[in-house]
Every structure is written in C-alpha cells, then in structure tokens.
Amino acid sequence: MVKLEASHVSKRYWLEREGNEVLALSDVSLSIEDGEFMAIVGPSGCGKTSLLNIIAGLLPYDQGSVSTDGRKVNGPGIDRAVVFQHSSLLPWRTIGGNVRYGMELQRRFDKAAMAERTDYFIKLVGLGGFEKHYPSELSGGMQQRVNLARALAADPAVLLMDEPFAALDAQTREFMQSELLKIWAKARKTVLFITHQINEAIYLADRVTVMSARPGRVKDIFSVPFGRPRSLHLKREREFLELEDAIWQLIEEESANIGVVLAPD
C-alpha cells in the first residue's frame, strides 16, 4: 500500500540577488510504501531539503502533487512529523516539555495521554531520567534524540527526517544510526530520510533514491538487499561497499556533468 506519494513535483525559486529564476526540482516522482524506510541522497544543492519541506507542507510548489494515503497535502498535517537537522528545541522548556510540544500544538491527545506518551518516548530514545533537564545541558546527539522523540510522540503516519545526524561527530552519528534502527523497529513508521551520506542511506533504508543536481530529479532508485536487524559491521562488508560505490559513481558522474555545464568553453 502506498503511504506517501509525490508525483511530477516541480519547484522554482526566484533569486532576488541574481534577478533570475532557478529550477530547484524538476518533475520529481516518488512513492513510499506503508512502513517503508526510504532514503534520499544527492549532491548538495540537489533540492532534497526543498522536497522534504514540500512534503511536510512547509513550502509551496509549482507543479505536481503530493499525497499521503491518497489525500492531497495542503500544508502541514498531523499525519506527518519532521525531525530537523537543527534540533529546534525550545530552550526554555525542559526535555519533557519539548517532547510534549508537538502533541500540545496538535491537540490530539488529552493531558493524561500526553503525559504517558511523553514518558514512553523519552524512555524509547534512551533519555529516561533527563525529563527535567534543559536542552542546553544536553549533548548534540542527545538533543537529536529529543527531536526524534518529539516527532514520534505526535504519532505521525510518516516521519520526515532532514539530515538529522549531519551536525554530529562521526562516532556519535554511527551510534545514532544504529539507535534509530532499533527505535524504528519498535515504532514502525513510514520514514523519508534525507542525507548526503551514501553509507548512512544504505545502512538505514529499504530503498535509496539518488537525486541529480540542478534541477533536482530522481536519477535512480536502489533497493537495499540486506535483511534486518542490521549491525554496524554491515558497513564493512563487500556487498555493502559495492552498492555504496555504485551510488557514489552515479553521483560523481552527476557532479562532473554540472561541472561541464557550469564551465564556459
């Protein structure tokens, strides 16, 4: 069953400083099955964050359509929740208050249910005991856990993740990736995960969509053949590295193409 569908989405930006228009996304079509983990990789500037914002309902688009469960997306909705690259936590609220924040805004749960869910998801992301701490007292990795708990607590059908681990150091990122898979195994959401790291995409996802740069298009979609649960050792295995290399070549070729386009001859 298709959970999330984007068909023929195009997005243009007007660049005030240069006085011209740029095509950020051109005819992008994606469909994600219920419960599927889909990752999108692409060179920087390929419009992957724009695509996520469009699906989240935060950014208007020019052509095409986006739908969840067959219903057209018109702005933000309770069926989707976003985990941002910057943890975007309210600094004056405690961890408990931040996890509750999304639920509070959406007004779907009563007080008792909110308290229960807050408690459950704080424990799920491994932050039990930190309810009364403020975000400034937490490390970057812990802040991203809160960010994830806030999104999950709102009980979305689709979880949209916008390079959530990009700002973390390499070690913390690897750890967070395996943690995310454990949490996902329990929460079982449909996930769209944006990243610029190919091995992160392969390690996490069921399918990896590769996007091309300027204008952003879907270049290819790879199915990841590895079963679950996956251990971090998977990343050193030959089959994994081959897939990573194949995707890498596709992106490199793409970057080279832009180089030719951009270089005046």
Binding site: R80, S88, W92, Y101, S136
Partner: protein, 259 residues
C-alpha cells in the same frame, strides 16, 4: 577531596570591599572631626547620620520617601504595563511597527529631561508631573526591549512549530512570548535605572516634596548634610531595585547555559 579554603578565601570579596569602604569612611570621619572639612562644601559621616536620624524622628524624611516612592512605583507600573503591551503589538504586527517607528525613534533619541518643562505645563507641579516623568523614562527601554524580544523569534523554532500545525496564536504564546521574556526583563532593569533618575530630576524641577526636592533644597541652602542624606537614599534605592530586577532576570533564565 575538595581543598579546604581558609576563612579569608571564602570571604575575600566581602573582606577587601567592606574593609576599603570602612577605611574610607573612617578617614573621612577623622578629617571631619578634626575640622579640616568645611560644612559648606562637604559633610561628614557623623553629621549625615545625625541629619538622617533628625529627618526620621522630627523632620519630613519619611513623608518625602513615601512621596518619591509612590511617584516612582505609579509611574513605573504604568510604564511596565503599557511598555510590554505596546511592545508586543509593535513587535508582532509589521504594520504597527512601520506606523509607529518614526515617532518612537524620535522620542527615544530625545533626552527625557528636555521634555520636563513641557510635562510640567501639562500636569502642573504636583505629583502627576513626577509620575509622568518616571513613566516616560521607564517606558522606552521596556518598549524597545520588548519589541526586540518579540521580533527575535528563532526561524528554526518557527519552522518546527509550523510543521506541527501551530496556529498563529500558538506561535505567539509558545514561541514569541516566552522568547521575549529575557528581553523584557532587561528592559525592566534599564527602566528601573532610568525611572529612578526620572523621579529625582522631576522633583528637582518643581514642587516642594520628595527626596529629589530634598537634594535640590539642601544644595540651594548649603545644607550639605541634608543633600547627602538624599543622595544616599537614592543610591540605596538604585542598588535595591537593580538587585531585585537582576534576581527576577535570573529566576527566568534558569534554562540558559551557565556562563
């Protein structure tokens, strides 16, 4: 193990600072007692204490303090309520900001003392001209800081709130207002300092009561001990109110990273 600190190490600031003040007062008193200081130019500690006691028991010191205190509190309360309310409106509605900005910039740049003669024409020499001077002195810092606080909303937080379907009202109450609190408190601290100047200067300009009047009167009659009593009262009120405002600021900033 935590290293043991001597009595001196634990109270270093108090011992050095308090000691310096005590020594200064002692030297001042010694010079005064020896008759080296003309009472026309400067008073002495014992004379000031005597005058303070006289003012409290036989004079009008209590009534003056009550009068100045009332003026200050009334004016400051009005400045606080209207400054925060008006600041929120100007900070939140772009149109309101564009309309009021020229007036506010002009008024903000004008020294409030230049307006006192006008204020006395409007309100007379009674207490309401003083209340208004305190009001207008404290109003601007509170207003300007509130506007800045409301406008200072974090874009990432705004995006997150929107993604969770926040309404404008929810964004206002959960992001704009709490985010503005530290700014409003800074405005309050600045407003306290300027309001105190306002009450003293206002009373110097006209009328016949209050601590400000006492200072001006003491000066005009070469009663330096009376003058000093007034100055010391103003100084201590300043320290007290600033301390209260700082405590309030700290109370609302527990979530800030420790510096």
């Amino acid at each position: 193990m935590r290293p043991k600190k001597s009595f001196y190490q634990r109270h270093e600031a108090l011992i050095l600072g308090g000691g310096a003040v005590a020594i200064t007062i002692a030297i001042w008193q010694a010079l005064w007692s020896a008759g080296k200081i003309s009472p026309l130019f400067l008073s002495g500690p014992s004379a000031i204490v005597k005058q303070f006691d006289y003012g409290l028991t036989k004079g009008t010191l209590l009534a003056d303090m009550r009068y100045s205190g009332t003026n200050f509190i009334l004016g400051f309360a009005m400045a606080l309520v209207s400054g925060v309310a008006f600041g929120i409106i100007i900070g939140w509605y772009r149109t309101a900001r564009l309309v009021f900005d020229p007036f506010l910039n002009a008024l903000y740049a004008t020294p409030r003392i230049a307006m006192i003669p006008m204020i006395i024409i409007w309100f007379g020499v009674g207490m309401w001209s003083k209340v208004f001077i305190v009001f207008i002195s404290a109003f601007f810092p509170i207003l300007v800081n509130t506007v800045g606080g409301v406008r200072n909303m974090d874009r990432d937080l705004l995006r997150a709130a929107r993604a969770f379907c926040a309404s404008d009202w929810q964004i206002f109450t959960t992001l704009a207002l709490p985010g503005a609190v530290p700014f409003i408190l800074t405005g309050i601290r600045q407003g306290v300092a300027l309001g105190l100047i306002g009450v003293v200067v206002g009373e110097m300009f006209g009328g016949s009561q209050g601590v400000g009047f006492m200072v001006a009167y003491g000066g005009q009659t070469f009663a330096t001990d009376t003058l000093f009593v007034g100055v010391i009262i103003v100084a201590f009120s300043g320290i007290l109110f600033t301390w209260l405002a700082e405590r309030l600021e700290r109370r609302f900033s527990r979530w800030r990273p420790e510096r």
